[in-house]
Symmetry: none
Subunit: 216 residues, 4 copies
């Protein structure tokens, strides 16, 4: 009994998340209504409120899972043995972009720090943690690709720079109505190029860098 019920509940919950994800991948937060989600999930819209505390809570919970998946996959990318460090950074970047672009509408949720009451067990906190880990991961990938050890603050600056680029790529593509594959087919090489250039520039800056500071 209890088992069956739990299974059913879990299934409904999953259905809601899946439906919401599908809808948010096409439309923005405000454009998706609870009723849309319920319809696609095959349940009543009131049911959603059993599992989630409201629309925003659903959104946060929704974001957490892909982000967990993303983190896992990005980690795996970084420890693949058959790649040189800079190939690894490239692979990391490509993977990151693929994940982010496949969830374009959720991306702002992933990577925008939203003011929110600091509430224990707020899924927003979990999101924050995941974000930070991914950022750290990128830092480690960059460090490895650069091949020299850097002071923490310098690495932070470089990692930020690199992330700006990644964010910019995603942001620039966010409004596109193209599917992920169409997008990558059209712009993938440009994305690669951009990442490569950024990396080269950072490497150059690291090696010769300090005397030729940015003009200011």
């Amino acid at each position: 009994m209890t088992n069956k019920q739990r299974a059913r509940a879990e299934k409904t919950r999953k259905a809601i998340l899946t439906a919401a994800e599908a809808l948010f991948s096409t439309r923005s937060f405000d454009e998706v209504t609870m009723r849309d989600i319920a319809e696609l999930a095959g349940c009543s819209h009131t049911t959603i409120y059993i599992y989630f505390d409201g629309k925003e809570a659903l959104l946060n919970e929704l974001a957490a899972e892909p982000l967990r998946t993303a983190l896992r996959r990005l980690e795996r990318t970084l420890y693949r043995g058959n790649l040189s460090p800079d190939e690894r950074l490239a692979a990391f970047s490509r993977e990151f972009l693929r994940l982010a672009l496949s969830q374009r509408a959720l991306y702002p949720v992933f990577f925008t720090v939203r003011a929110s009451r600091v509430d224990e067990k707020d899924p927003a906190l979990e999101l924050q943690r995941l974000r930070n880990e991914i950022f750290a991961l990128a830092g480690r990938a960059l460090q490895a690709a650069l091949g020299v050890h850097l002071a923490e603050d310098r690495l932070l600056a470089y990692t930020r720079s690199y992330f700006y680029l990644l964010h910019g790529i995603v942001a620039s593509s966010a409004a596109s109505p193209e599917s992920l594959d169409e997008l990558l087919a059209r712009l993938g090489p440009t994305f690669d190029l951009a990442c490569l250039c950024m990396f080269r520039g950072i490497r150059a800056h690291v090696h010769e860098g300090r005397q030729e500071v940015s003009p200011q």
Copy 2:
């Protein structure tokens, strides 16, 4: 008397634009209501419809002016005589970021192409034109800084890459509650660094580029 009336009208119109700008700088398009704007502007919400054709039109008109200003200032930056080409690119970047970050909430309006009926005299068209000009400007600045002539499509790819970075910087900072000055004080150097690295990487890619292609 006609003068007085015209003045009054212009004042009201300005008040509406100012109010809208203030509100949009804090909240997003959907979060700001016409009534909010009217209240802040000190007029009835119906008055807004005298001056603008609706909410979206207001938004477009609102975005057009700063963007025009931006274009003018960016042009001026590019023709300042006392700078070397790459200093000019850096200056351009800094100016762009300053402008974009000072209008953070409008930034998506500036740089997100929105599907819209292609309508003569639609202010959206004007926006599109301004966007394109700014992009072209960046392309020319980049070309000049690189110092070699590039085929159009290669230049396009590099310019895009550079813009991704700029977009990313803005997007990353968009949600920050800090004032423009606070933001620049804290992250300005990092922004400069990122731009410099991007430029260096592009330059490197241009010069040694083709043999060492992006892995994949």
Copy 3:
């Protein structure tokens, strides 16, 4: 001076009436806005309030003139010498329909008695008077065509019957998007037929009438 002003005023007034008439001939009362009228009349919408006490007053005044014209033309029709009495009735009917259908949107204003505060100099009163005269005219035409003198109440009943038909023709065609000419080209013969039949039926009823009463 005064003359010039009066002329100008009269011109503006006329322009408003003309514009309103044109618009009401296509769209219904609620669909036409004061601003539409003003635009077509080439004046400010506030000007309309100088000449008319509001939208409804304008409508009444608007209806009066065509109705006066109609009355005049219908009178003329009835006294044309070269027609037999029943040809005259037919001509009257055709003229009535032509007038009514050319002002389809105004027709309800012409012929619908609206509750209204009985106000001296209310144009609604004038309308009422005109309506009554046209009705009386039809009565006389019918009487003449029948060729026998009838008691007042019997004539009233017949005239009413005849008018029901005319009203019905107009009402049935009111919603048609066709122009007057298209409409008459398509249905004119049917209108004639209907009028003819009605007249014949009345004549028959008058002559043999009383023994074969309507079943009930």
Copy 4:
């Protein structure tokens, strides 16, 4: 419990329809607001949108039922055995007028063809169908009463003529504030007379008709 809910829903739905009917019987489509309806129905105005797709849909749905009833009753009238053919036509007419006048305000909805996107399952289509059936019914009644077989187009012209009269009667009485019974008490005989005359005229035209065509 599902039963209880269904009952409640049905009750609400009915309440809305009843309220709307009551309001539309006094005021026109544009004059009745959704909030008026809701208030009279004793529910929130948003509730209306649960049951109907909007104002126009409500109107159509509202019109469909009485029209269905009307059709059924008119059919029954035509097959009553104890009447002669022309008594049947008279009975049909009287029944039609009774129905139409009892729903005066809805009459335009019943019998005015409104332009509308031809949409499967649009209730407007249903209305159109019902209208056509009633018209066909009248045609059959007329044919039977005339006692001779007529070519389709001639019958059509006569039926139209007859309908013009019926429409005219309804239209002329539409604005009256009298109750149905008062109206019939005052004008019923005139209505009968008009119908009788029209029928006699048509019959005359059919029998001797063609040589004495309508002048034109």
